[in-house]
């Protein structure tokens, strides 16, 4: 927690309403995001109980599982969900766009837009990940056949769950995280996980403070939990008798239909408030202007979506239960790079985020007081353009002489610290030598060198391209990491013995889900 964010929390508590911690929206928001509010059955291993799904506030579709312990009904739920999700995904596969690749030397095509899934909280992301895990190895044939769309659903859900771990991706978002990225409440991070309480702070109903609205939201009889876990009292008092009534009415079609309708009504009542909150959250986020680098990160999601769609089109198998050593190292490296770049991009896009870095001495803001845009360094073999500027700041400048700084206004330009001179009036003069971002000639084009009077932010954070690391091929996995994996497992786990416990096995199609 940065001091700046912590201070925003203190201010939120005093003001009685959440305070902004961002001035722009740091994530892409689709025109028609698919909102998914899942509920799970208590005590079971990720057994779906119900879900509200839809891409617009008035398009909510309720899916329920009247007997959540029944295997057939679970897969029927998965097939029903696939019947909504897969057509939604396909709707993004019509239009493609050209994107430069290999630093502009080549062009490849990707889908012009990508799907976006929204769930209420991180537990919702976990629910989808496990639902993906429990369905992606299923088979439409064999002993326990499922609808062909079920394994496809599993693969896509796994794809989204993996994207959700990728910093800066907006393919699958938890609403609580999307909101706390932009607002600080007067309650703790634990309490912020409760979507109704969080929105109570951000957008309290008229006449209520954020604290009062959050307190009200904690009463499960007024405000059902945002799932996937249900309120135990609801389970015991309402859900259990209704499920029992449904089960007992097996022989009587009329009574069974009535029990089913009652179950639908109960579950809809539990889900509908969260549904409303999800769209209120979408509205609040949409009201913020997007940050400058948001579209670039969404391009990454479009690339990933295109890549995975092509993998499936080519008959690619499901994601393995566990990554091999090389795949895991590559993935970790990719996530680390994404995390670094995401943090830098948010700071570049948003002065309020950059302020956190100014406070910790990673950035300062000052006024340009001198500029020599024509300065040429001819001490080397060839003369090169090396303009110098002097910046005066009231902020501390802990960067040493020789350090390289960047400015969000000119991200391609490096500024090397030449002199740092603390003044008597608490101000500091910093002389910087510039290189890059000024064309190839010995004269800087207008606007490429900061002019006297310009207010400039300089930071050690760099949004420059991070080269990818080098990793061995899987068949060259060093012995320190278990050596090369055994022969590639059969696709779809075919031929794996009952139990599927063989190391490296790709899942077990006979694995029960009971």
């Amino acid at each position: 927690m940065s001091t700046l964010r912590a201070l925003a929390k203190a201010q939120a508590l005093a003001a009685g309403v959440a305070q902004p911690v961002a001035t722009v929206r740091h994530l892409h928001l689709a025109e028609r995001p698919l909102v998914l509010v899942p509920l799970a059955m208590a005590g079971e291993a990720n057994a779906p109980l119900a879900a509200l799904v839809g891409a617009a506030p008035d398009e909510a579709r309720l899916l329920i599982v009247p007997q959540p312990r029944n295997r057939q009904q679970r897969f029927a739920f998965a097939a029903e969900l696939a019947g909504i999700l897969l057509p939604y995904l396909d709707s993004f596969r019509g239009v493609t766009e050209a994107a430069p690749t290999d630093r502009g030397r080549d062009v490849r095509h990707r889908y012009a837009d990508a799907p976006q899934l929204l769930v209420p909280n991180p537990a919702g992301v976990t629910f989808l990940r496990l639902l993906g895990r429990s369905t992606r190895f299923r088979r439409p044939d064999g002993d326990h056949p499922v609808h062909p769309s079920v394994p496809l659903l599993g693969r896509w859900l796994t794809f989204f769950a993996e994207r959700a771990e990728h910093p800066g991706s907006a393919a699958l978002l938890a609403m609580t995280e999307a909101l706390t990225l932009h607002w600080a409440t007067g309650q703790s991070a634990v309490e912020d996980l409760h979507l109704p309480a969080l929105l109570g702070w951000i957008d309290p109903p008229a006449g209520l403070t954020g604290a009062a609205a959050a307190a009200r939201a904690e009463d499960p009889t007024i405000c059902p939990p945002a799932g996937p876990a249900t309120d135990p009292d609801f389970d015991n008092r309402l859900l259990a008798p209704t499920i029992a009534a449904y089960a007992e009415a097996e022989a009587d079609p009329v009574a069974r239909a009535a029990a089913y309708a009652e179950l639908e009504r109960l579950l809809r009542d539990q889900l509908a408030p969260t549904w409303e909150l999800m769209w209120r959250g979408v509205g609040l986020l949409r009201a913020l202007p997007p940050g400058g680098r948001v579209a670039g990160r969404w391009d990454g999601d479009k690339d990933a979506f295109t890549g995975y769609a092509e993998h499936l089109d080519a008959g690619g198998g499901p994601q393995p239960r566990r990554d091999g050593a090389v795949a895991a190292a590559v993935r970790l490296h990719r996530l680390e790079r994404a995390l670094t770049s995401y943090a830098v991009q948010r700071a570049y896009d948003d002065p309020l985020v950059m302020a956190e870095h100014r406070l910790t001495g990673e950035a300062f803001v000052g006024d340009v007081t001198l500029a020599d845009p024509k300065r040429v360094d001819d001490t080397g073999k060839r003369p090169v353009l090396r303009p110098r500027i002097q910046v005066v700041t009231t902020e501390p400048v802990p960067m040493p002489v020789g350090a390289t700084l960047w400015s969000p206004a000119r991200p391609a330009q490096k500024a090397r610290v030449v002199f740092v001179t603390p003044g008597a009036d608490g101000k500091t003069e910093v002389v910087l030598e510039l290189s890059g971002g000024m064309g190839r000639g010995l004269t800087a084009p207008p606007g490429t060198v900061p002019e006297v009077g310009e207010r400039l932010c300089l930071t050690t954070l760099s949004d420059a391209f991070l080269p990818a690391g080098n990793f061995p091929a899987p068949e060259e996995t060093p012995w320190t990491h278990g050596g090369p994996p055994a022969a590639a497992p059969p696709v779809d786990g075919a031929g794996v013995a009952e139990g599927g416990a063989a190391p490296g096995s790709d899942g077990d199609p006979t694995e029960e889900w009971t």
Binding site: L4, L7, S188, P232, N236
Partner: protein, 362 residues
């Protein structure tokens, strides 16, 4: 009855102390620095009722679906005299699966002294063969009172060592389980290890006969087939011992508690609230998941930086009150010498925030 025991009984009022179980003892380790909790738990006060009485009811309901599922899984694992369980445990421990094992169910009868005696006799019987003991009745001293534990657990004696076997119904999917649930199971198992060791030591046996490796049996993946994992609970044992020692020294804590302190449920709610406020709590948001009194303590801690979470408090330089933070940040208040550094940081933060929100170009 010692003076402390009399004092604790007085605090509780005219009711017998609330019975502890492994879950409540495990919960004691959650916030060891909280005096209020140590005193109330030592006195055996019915905290859920107390919280309700003062208008801050706890929300620790359990779904009957979860209970049913837990019982069904346990029954399944223990079926057939524990044959499957014995195989799982032996394979996980890497010892040869014994051809057979005795199965002793020590549960059943309500007569506590008799059950305790049977458990003691069975567990200290110098048998060498593989044996499984179901529902042993164990005891622990908590704050000077003997607490009986009736675990739904199995103590397995294999290759001359005892292992606590804990059966839980949360799934282990691809070798991973919910970390919070594993942590809770580990600390609960540590309570049993401790109690089992005390029982052996009291009979002159080596307490180290009880392994610190606990066997956790859970459903594997999405099915009902059980899988066994080993949990090393040495760290939990340390934490537990420290907190039990602290509660054993309750005299020292009670010395700072006002003489008229009461948690008697028949008292007036206003009296109870007034009394509670005389014994310091150490509220943190994590309490909400662990302590029945947490909603009251949270209410009381309003306006304090700790209520926003420990990381927030640290980021604010450890200043206690939110109003003080804001006054220092606004420069409306001269900082104490030890706050000078924090105050400078807060002032800088406030200025930067205000600038950025005012759209000052940066």
């Amino acid at each position: 009855m010692t003076s402390s025991a009399r004092r604790l009984a007085g605090i509780r009022g005219g009711v017998p102390p609330r019975r502890h179980n492994a879950r409540t003892i495990a919960a004691l380790t959650g916030n060891p620095g909280c005096t209020r909790r140590a005193v109330l738990d030592s006195a055996g006060v019915d905290k859920p009722k107390l919280a309700e009485r003062i208008g801050f009811p706890a929300r620790f309901g359990q779904s009957r679906f979860a209970i049913t599922r837990g019982n069904a899984f346990e029954a399944q694992v223990k079926a057939d005299g524990g044959v499957e369980l014995l195989r799982l445990v032996a394979e996980r421990l890497g010892v040869p699966v014994p051809a057979g094992a005795s199965w002793t169910d020590l549960g059943g009868a309500d007569d506590l002294p008799d059950r305790h005696e049977r458990s003691r006799a069975a567990l200290t019987d110098p048998g060498e063969g593989a044996a499984l003991f179901d529902h042993p009745l164990l005891g622990l001293d908590v704050a000077g009172q003997r607490v009986h534990l009736e675990p739904d657990l199995v103590a397995a004696r294999l290759a001359g060592r005892f292992h606590v076997v804990e059966i839980k119904s949360f799934p282990v999917i691809d070798g991973q389980a919910d970390p919070a649930k594993v942590a809770a199971a580990a600390i609960q198992s540590a309570v049993y290890v401790l109690a089992l060791r005390e029982l052996l030591a009291a009979e002159g046996h080596d307490p180290e006969q009880v392994s610190h490796d606990v066997v956790l049996v859970c459903p594997r993946d999405f099915a009902n087939r059980p899988v066994a994992s080993l949990l090393d609970v040495r760290k939990q044992l340390l934490v537990l011992r420290r907190q039990l020692d602290r509660m054993a020294r309750i005299d020292a804590l009670l010395a700072d508690v006002p003489a008229d302190f009461t948690a008697d449920l028949t008292a007036d709610p206003a009296t109870l609230v007034a009394a509670l406020s005389t014994v310091a709590a150490r509220y943190a948001p994590e309490c909400l998941a662990a302590c029945e009194l947490a909603y009251f303590c949270r209410h009381e801690a309003r306006g304090h930086t700790t209520a926003l979470g420990r990381p927030v408090r640290e980021a604010l330089g450890g200043i206690n009150e939110v109003s003080e933070v804001l006054a220092l940040a606004a420069g409306e208040r001269a900082p104490d010498p030890e706050q000078a550094e924090a105050a400078a940081l807060l002032r800088a933060a406030a200025r930067l925030r205000a600038d950025a929100l005012a759209g000052d170009p940066a």
